[in-house]
């Protein structure tokens, strides 16, 4: 459950030699041998001289997914085709109730009543993201994620200095907004949720609420890289909790890893990739923790194929 602790804000834990599996220990020993060290250096040098063509395969698939899902909402209303009616906070997908877990939570805490349709919608969405990877909602569906990725590109391109925050902040905000819903009796978080604001703006037309989304993006460009998704969004934490038990994982194979750290540089939540540092992997093969959004940027970035998607229980036994 170290993944869960990491998601809530604790710093990743480097395993002591005793906590490492014998295989991982042996591998580390092997990697530290002078011959292996030279081999790794040579491999990295060769890679730097002739960089492998970087194709953002998974990113492109994701962007397509975000565009399609949100366009489906837009088209359903604009052309009255009743495919998926509503917005990301709650909808009907060909008639079936769907409710965003965090929005439904806010409503139930504020309203203090369990609404049956909401329970149905929440259960459907819960099961869906349980299968699909939890925070994959963030990187494969959320429209704010897409614009935040563009803002991040700008942040990097402009060479802005990043001002990191404490990751425990998101846990604190999750608790604060839950408490505020109970105390005030209003869905306080929905007032600033860029996900709800953007989703509704796409479908029904935008308004001044978009100023808040713009302010967040400016903050991310000029001050803190990926501020909202990385440190603030309670929705991300809710789906992250779902992702703890999801079978879809990004899997790490220390044997193939050259420990260059390219994955951590592109990752939204680099703390989940702490095991890619040499000597930080408790096992030779490990799954990336729950906070991972299954976005695939690390898979695209990894020059040696040490990171791959896997579906637990579906791969061939080796």
């Amino acid at each position: 459950m170290s993944g869960l602790r990491g998601m809530l804000g604790w710093a990743p834990h480097r395993p002591t030699p005793e906590e490492m599996s014998p295989e991982a220990r042996d591998l580390l020993q092997h990697k530290r041998s002078p011959a292996e060290r030279d081999r790794r250096k040579a491999a990295i040098k060769a890679e730097k001289q002739a960089p492998p063509a970087h194709r953002p395969v998974w990113r492109n698939r994701r962007w397509l997914s975000i565009a399609l899902v949100n366009l489906m909402f837009v088209a359903s209303f604009q052309f009255d085709i009743q495919l998926v009616e509503g917005a990301l906070t709650a909808s009907r997908f060909v008639g079936f109730h769907m409710a965003d877990l965090n929005s439904a939570l806010q409503v139930m805490l504020a309203y203090k009543t369990v609404v049956i349709n909401l329970v149905i919608g929440t259960t459907t969405v819960l099961l869906m993201w349980l299968l699909l990877g939890g925070r994959s909602f963030c990187s494969w569906v959320c429209p704010y994620h897409l614009v935040a990725e563009l803002a991040e590109m700008l942040h990097l391109k402009l060479g802005m200095r990043d001002h990191p925050m404490h990751r425990g902040m998101r846990t604190a905000l999750w608790l604060v907004f839950s408490a505020l819903a109970v105390i005030t009796g209003y869905t306080v978080f929905e007032t600033i949720s860029p996900v709800g604001i953007l989703s509704r703006a796409l479908i029904y037309g935008g308004g001044v609420a978009l100023v808040w989304v713009g302010a967040l993006l400016l903050f991310e460009i000029f001050y803190t890289r990926r501020f909202w998704c990385r440190y603030a969004c309670p929705i991300g934490l809710t789906y992250g909790l779902v992702g703890t038990v999801s079978p879809i994982k990004v899997a790490y194979d220390a044997e193939a890893c050259l420990h260059e750290g390219e994955c951590r540089q592109v990752c939204l939540v680099p703390h989940v990739l702490h095991m890619t540092r040499m000597g930080h992997n408790a096992e030779v093969k490990m799954d990336i923790g729950a906070d991972c959004t299954r976005c695939g940027l690390c898979i695209d970035a990894c020059p040696t194929g040490a990171l791959k998607f896997r579906i637990k229980g579906l791969e061939a036994r080796s």
Binding site: S76, F77, E85, G86, A87, T89, A90, S91, R92, H97, A99, D100, S103, A104, V107, A110, Y111, K112, T113, V115, N117, L118, G121, H163, P164, M165, H166, G168, M169, A172, L173, V176, F177, L180, T184, G185, Y186, T187, V188, F189, E190, T191, I192, G196, I197, R200, I203, Y204, G207, V208, A209, V211, W212, T224, F227, Y231, A232
Partner: protein, 234 residues
């Protein structure tokens, strides 16, 4: 000051800012600036805003697009639906209460199943001095440039623009004529003289507050308007 401490302080400040901005949403509510005619079946205002999941499914099913979602000026009411009756009233073109059926979170209460049970508000003659019926005047021409309405005699199934349906009335009775609820409003003689053409609109307790009379009223401003239920003004 070490980096960890700086990060922590920065995070506290950012978190306070996020919560602070969200709580700005309390201001329009507390000041009573949010006075909205809610869609049919809406719970009392406070409960309604708590229960509404701000998804707009009610917007999508309304055949006259009477329902719109509030912007950030409504604070905690951001994304919640309302009806701007003067621009587009609910005329029950849907025959049932589709918005209620569409609501996934019970903010529009399923306890209702007929339009006669709705209580969105209550019509009131706000400007008797402007009312054409009270002046004994007729009405000829287009009542309003905006708004859709279903005229059963024109098209049983589809609402059309009011601007495409000119009238020629010896005495203006638009509010009574187009009211979708039977017996909710009637015209009574203004005086005892049977030859006096002047009439006054009388709203009965059957009025559901749909706003059709406010939308169709050809005077500017509308002589008849919708008052919100008392609990909404709390």
């Amino acid at each position: 000051m070490d980096a960890d401490r700086r990060t922590l302080l920065r995070s506290l400040a950012a978190a306070a800012l996020v919560v602070g901005v969200s709580m700005l949403g309390a201001i329009p509510i507390a000041r009573g600036l949010v006075q909205r005619l809610r869609p049919p079946g809406a719970l009392g205002e406070k409960e309604f805003l708590a229960a509404c999941i701000k998804c707009g499914q009610c917007v999508q099913v309304c055949p006259v697009e009477a329902i719109v979602l509030a912007d950030a000026w409504d604070g905690f009411g951001l994304g919640a639906p309302y009806v701007d009756a003067r621009a587009q009233a609910c005329d029950f073109s849907c025959d049932a209460v589709q918005c209620i059926l569409a609501c996934p979170s019970g903010a529009l209460s399923h306890a209702l199943n007929a339009k006669e049970q709705v209580r969105m508000g209550f019509a009131r003659l706000d400007r008797p001095d402007l009312c054409l019926a009270r002046l004994g005047q007729g009405f000829k021409g287009v009542a309003r440039e905006v708004g859709l309405h279903r005229y059963s005699e024109v098209d049983r199934w589809n609402p059309i623009p009011i601007a495409k349906h000119p009238y020629d009335l010896p005495l203006c009775d638009l509010c009574v004529r187009e009211c979708p609820i039977e017996g909710a409003i009637r015209l009574d003689p203004l005086g005892d003289d049977p030859l006096d053409p002047r009439r006054t609109p009388v709203v009965t307790d059957r009025c559901v507050g749909c706003g059709m009379c406010e939308m169709i009223c050809p005077t500017e401003p509308a002589a008849i308007v919708i008052d919100l239920p008392k609990e909404a003004k709390a």
